[in-house]
Symmetry: C2
Subunit: 542 residues, 2 copies
Amino acid sequence: MQGLMQDWPLLCHKILDYAAQQHGRREIVTRSVEGPIVRTNYAEIRLRSLKVAQRLARDGFREGDRIGTLAWNTARHLEAWYGIMGMGGVYHTLNPRLFPEQIVWIMNHAEDQALFVDLTFMPIVEKIAPAIRSLKKVIVLTDAAHMPASALTNIVAFEEWLAEADGDYAWRELDEKAACGMCYTSGTTGDPKGVVYSHRSNVLHAMIAVQKDAMGIGSTDAILPVVPMFHANAWGLAQSAPMIGAKLVMPGGRMDGAAIYELLDTEKVTMSAAVPTVWLMLLQYLEEQGKKLPHLQKVIIGGSACPRSMTQKFRDDYDVEVIHAWGMTEMSPLGTLGTMKPEVAGLSGDAQLDIKQKQGYAPFGVEMKITGDTNDEKPWDGRTFGRLKVRGPAIARAYYGGAGKDQFDPDGWFDTGDVAHVDANGYMQITDRAKDVIKSGGEWISTIDLENLAVGHPDVAEAAVIGIAHPKWDERPLLVIVKKPGREVTKEQILAFMDGKIAKWWMPDDVSFVEAIPHTATGKIQKTTLRDQFRDYRLPSP
Amino acid sequence: MQGLMQDWPLLCHKILDYAAQQHGRREIVTRSVEGPIVRTNYAEIRLRSLKVAQRLARDGFREGDRIGTLAWNTARHLEAWYGIMGMGGVYHTLNPRLFPEQIVWIMNHAEDQALFVDLTFMPIVEKIAPAIRSLKKVIVLTDAAHMPASALTNIVAFEEWLAEADGDYAWRELDEKAACGMCYTSGTTGDPKGVVYSHRSNVLHAMIAVQKDAMGIGSTDAILPVVPMFHANAWGLAQSAPMIGAKLVMPGGRMDGAAIYELLDTEKVTMSAAVPTVWLMLLQYLEEQGKKLPHLQKVIIGGSACPRSMTQKFRDDYDVEVIHAWGMTEMSPLGTLGTMKPEVAGLSGDAQLDIKQKQGYAPFGVEMKITGDTNDEKPWDGRTFGRLKVRGPAIARAYYGGAGKDQFDPDGWFDTGDVAHVDANGYMQITDRAKDVIKSGGEWISTIDLENLAVGHPDVAEAAVIGIAHPKWDERPLLVIVKKPGREVTKEQILAFMDGKIAKWWMPDDVSFVEAIPHTATGKIQKTTLRDQFRDYRLPSP
């Protein structure tokens, strides 16, 4: 027996229709790429998105076409997204921080038909466009007056192109499971893998994100998404903000402390979202300038672990709540958020920071479990860790073209590649990457825990732990240390420092001192390279 | 091109799975029908719901079976709902306030296979059970010790019946569009009409309801749903509270001021939802007893229009925010909620009450329009009114068995039967029922506006306005008045009082004084009867 409720497919452009009708005059403020602060609203963005859709259709682009965007967070980028989706296309966000040859590889793999690009990235496009076999058109997100000289053909200024449309267009009627967006995730090994969002997954993800205990946003909020639309879907804010009619403040290309502070202050921003690096720059700026944050109520911090001191500084010095979050491109991206359940809501001081250091708990729509080597489910006791697996309506079931099949369990769970524990209240904490964890005698040792402990020693600048093959225990930990300039410390002193703070069998079998530890472009320790460097190393005999 | 996101159907029992895993120890407190306050939590409710599903399946009930519930808001009623849904059945809530013959008609129309019933309603069941042709089993929501003597066969105490199951049961895998619940709506004319909710519509409705600007609830809330599960789906709270892990406080059969106050106070309730009558009783009790409401933050008031004085009293005397809401059984039921957008958030005093007197605005997932006689869309100017039509994923597209077809437009809109205007900020106000509105010379006159104005006269106890046939204008308004005891007032005095407060052409053509105005069982003016009484009435010549 079927229900008798309306067939009302979950389509992204319905979010924009809603925002235009119920919150039409709510502002979207952008620090434009050309320089000035510019203002528009949801009603105008909807009209211009309709024009984008109309114009794309007139240019011959069709349902299912992938259309790239290489752009900052701006109102025009929003219009491009909604226009692409509304005519049945698939926005494909490109990360300008990748090497040009990676962008070429990704665009060719996705077969992008057109590209919306910011002025900032024109030098990249000039270089790569000829190598994109499917590319038919480049639309520069500016007006005629700011158009740069270009060697490319089929290139046009957004405003000129848009002026040829009147917006008399009906959004394409689509299946809610149709693709609407695409983002490639680049691991440390192998080719990038494409995640394909559907209209349904984006709408449901936004509905999950706006909840009081998730991002907790409403129409009286002014939201500054520093997290870029080209990275992990801007944490869904391009959909969730219009869904509840919040004001949006778009930072364009400037993410330095002074620029972010200016927007927070003049636009009375109540909520913002960014990776720790951005907040580090802002906090430094605030201290140097002696500024405060009277309007800001909370910041969502994710992308990498938020340092405890950052959470504390925001709380104690600026009266701003940090919500630690974790997610992945494959999860649209929200997975967990560190808001306070009643079990911990009364905590303050250090006890509160202990909870806030964890990555938070999953809202409805994200199922979590942690499993051992045989896919056996581990208890939620805050100590036992396992591979973190997730399931939900906004989580990938495959990569574009079928790559990375081993990350998808036959029973529908996505293996995040992270190792975590979950406490009895449901708060999750990442303890390692699965490929880095050390398997010793059938038990797991967290390299991140060992590293965090080792860097607590006053003479240690940086620490990395890798597993070394061992005849009896399979693997044993080797601690690699970079000393602070001018400091001296011995293996014995390091181990003595760690002794008693961890289980005996977690103690590294050896300590090796090096000049430098290899890093990725985003500053993470490159453990594959480190393992290569220690390929011929042998642990000392016991 | 399809998205590559997981197939994760929106099923109601996933809400309970979520609550049990992430908020398992959150309390559900019930004033039991047997008397004492009893406590359970989401983990226990899930286990017992699994037992209900297992037990129903063992008794031979099957996917799609309609199973009635005639019960108060209690934890057991929740377990019955989730158990029924989880084995693929359809909970069918019955309103005990209907006449027994109406309940019989409804149960036979739905072909209910079993019935969960509270002790309170056993006298009704004893009377009607033999007339329900499809009824195979009656499960009394109590334990063996409290089982009443009964002439019925196939009757069992819930706790005994449940004790035969161990809960080792897997929720049935279902299409998200499968029916999960049913509720009949009884208009003033014709047979009751059945609304059939789907798993998808209930889940999406809950996701809409929990939003910050809708009900705005989270895990630190304690929610008292006075609005019964047997009426309009308890405004969705049986799904939305577990979705965000809120504590639930269930009032059982006692809705008087003292009983509600006791729960609000001892259970530190932060949010509650009920019709105005319940709040009238509570406010009277508080005043008599000199009590305050230190924990309560907000109340959702709907079902009928919330009086301005009630909103003011809650705000000024108790520091409680009233959120005026409107909905219908056909809408799951939420349609609009009167939270404050930034355009009006700064208002206070009378200006704030002006907004709060309206029924609020629609969240994402509810589309609204107002139309004239030719389905022409009317502007949102806060004055022009029209038939209120709605569209959305939790709104009916048909009634069970195909009744009431004329309420469903071919283009997918549901005609609410209400007449309303919407202001430029999107706030809607009901001005009449479509069948009551007076059509004069092609224009509409709101009978509710005229009635509200007339009862403002100090000598008027009650007023009703009906349309009287008119040779030139089609219809003209007749004002029917009940004087206050011991007061005297003339037609001329009433009309003079109204003059200048409304458009000239809205002025009633005549005033008729009566001893009493007919009412429905729920206290609404019975305009059909009133029109019958004035069938032979002729308007005075001008």
